[in-house]
């Protein structure tokens, strides 16, 4: 299954980035084969609407779940409308996160974990 982990680097060994909209990299990985694509976040320096843009990118990439630290209200609404599972409160490396995801112990969040503009601070 195609999932996205927000990351501070471009490899499976990178630490996850706790920000969704303004993370450094999106690692889009196949949870079974561990094949992945690292996308440098094009929205990193946006003035506003970054959560919306990053959420739309996830929809365009057809990911089924997003694993990250925190998600704000606009990103949450966008991901939810795109029927993408949102899993917050993640820490560790990208690879560890994928392994943990596969065990099924990570449960999707029901609401945003932070307020608007959290990632800007």
């Amino acid at each position: 299954m195609k999932i996205c982990i927000t990351s501070q680097g471009d490899s499976l060994e990178s630490q996850i980035d706790k920000k969704f909209g303004r993370c450094l990299y999106f690692i889009i990985a196949d949870s079974e084969t561990l094949e992945f694509e690292a996308i440098k976040n094009p929205n990193l320096d946006g003035m506003g609407g970054v959560g919306v843009q990053s959420g739309q990118l996830m929809s365009n990439k057809d990911v089924k779940a997003v694993l990250t630290g925190n998600v704000g209200p606009n990103a949450f609404q966008t991901l939810q409308a795109a029927k993408i599972d949102i899993i917050t409160g993640i820490s560790g490396t990208v690879k560890e996160t994928i392994e943990k995801y596969k065990t099924g112990e990570l449960k999707p969040a029901e609401k945003p974990s932070v307020d608007s503009n959290f990632g800007k601070k």
Binding site: N43, G46, G48, G49, V50, V52, Q53, G55, Q56, S59, N60, N74, Q77, T78, A81, A82
Partner: protein, 277 residues
């Protein structure tokens, strides 16, 4: 004539200067452009005789016509539209109402609808005319309301604009096209730092300005030094005085509590008038 009262740092005394200058001159139009925290009316206590809502236009999408091509999101400069594969979301509080999405939509599925973001009110107190704006709680964009307030400027009158603090869009919108700007500051490191930012903005906007140092006997000499080095006129100094603070806390203009200040504010106006010539 338009005289705006601005400051980089908040709480330096913009409203105090605006209302006292207005009351000292008498027959003026006072415009409160600090629409996020308007407070001129507290001191002026005008009789409000009209109130009008302010709207911005935001897109509404007819999903039966939309084919989810994503053009609207692509052209949105404010990232207020999420175009998903089978849905389109509009984030109204991010929308600046530019109309690009409606213009570019190939399916003609978008129409603009009005969204209320605040109101403006006008009133009077004696021969003073008052216009103020207020942004609704939770709204982020002050500029459309400030624009509406400024549309009420009376070219035949002396217009005094109480601007919002800072150097962001709302300050720029408020002070643009002024004949003169009074930059209120206090002689502290924060006051000076933020004043320099405002000086840079005013120079870029080509608005002539002078500095008014409030609580002038506090802090240090660096503000005066800076103004001398930059050839910026210091047009008034007001000391840090308990009786001024007391009058303020009771919602009283300085010129009422300390009548000797009436002359000083009239002198400030004469000074500004000379500089505009």
């Amino acid at each position: 004539m338009i005289i705006s009262i601005a400051s980089g740092k908040g709480g330096t005394g913009k409203t105090t200067i605006a209302i006292n200058l207005a009351l000292a001159i008498g027959k003026v139009h006072l415009l409160d452009c600090d629409v996020e925290e308007p407070n001129s009316h507290i001191f002026i206590k005008p009789q409000i005789n009209s109130k009008a809502p302010v709207y911005i236009s935001v897109p509404e999408i007819d999903k039966s016509k939309c084919d989810f091509c994503g053009k609207c999101s692509e052209v949105c400069a404010y990232k207020a539209i999420a175009a998903l594969k089978t849905d389109v979301l509009i984030f109204k509080e991010l929308c600046h109402g530019c109309g690009a999405c409606e213009y570019f939509c190939p399916q003609k599925a978008i129409k603009e609808v009005n969204r209320n973001i605040g109101f403006i009110e006008t009133g009077e107190k004696g021969n003073l005319l008052f216009t103020g704006g207020k942004l609704n709680i939770g709204e982020a964009m002050a500029s459309p309301i400030i624009k509406e307030v400024k549309n009420r400027v009376k070219p035949e009158m002396i217009n005094i604009i109480d601007a919002p603090p800072g150097t962001s869009c709302s300050m720029i919108e408020s002070v643009s096209n002024s004949d003169f700007c009074v930059l209120v500051t206090e002689p502290t490191p924060f006051g000076l730092n933020d004043m320099i930012l405002s000086v840079e903005v005013l120079r870029k906007l080509n608005v002539p300005f002078g500095v008014l140092i409030n609580r002038s006997d506090l802090g240090d000499d660096k503000t005066v030094e800076y103004c001398e080095n930059e050839n910026i006129p210091i047009i008034m100094k007001i000391p840090f005085a308990k009786n001024i603070a007391k009058a303020y806390s009771q919602g009283k203009p300085i010129i009422e509590a300390l009548p000797e200040y009436r002359k000083k504010f009239i002198a400030l106006y004469e000074n500004i008038k000379e500089r505009i010539k």
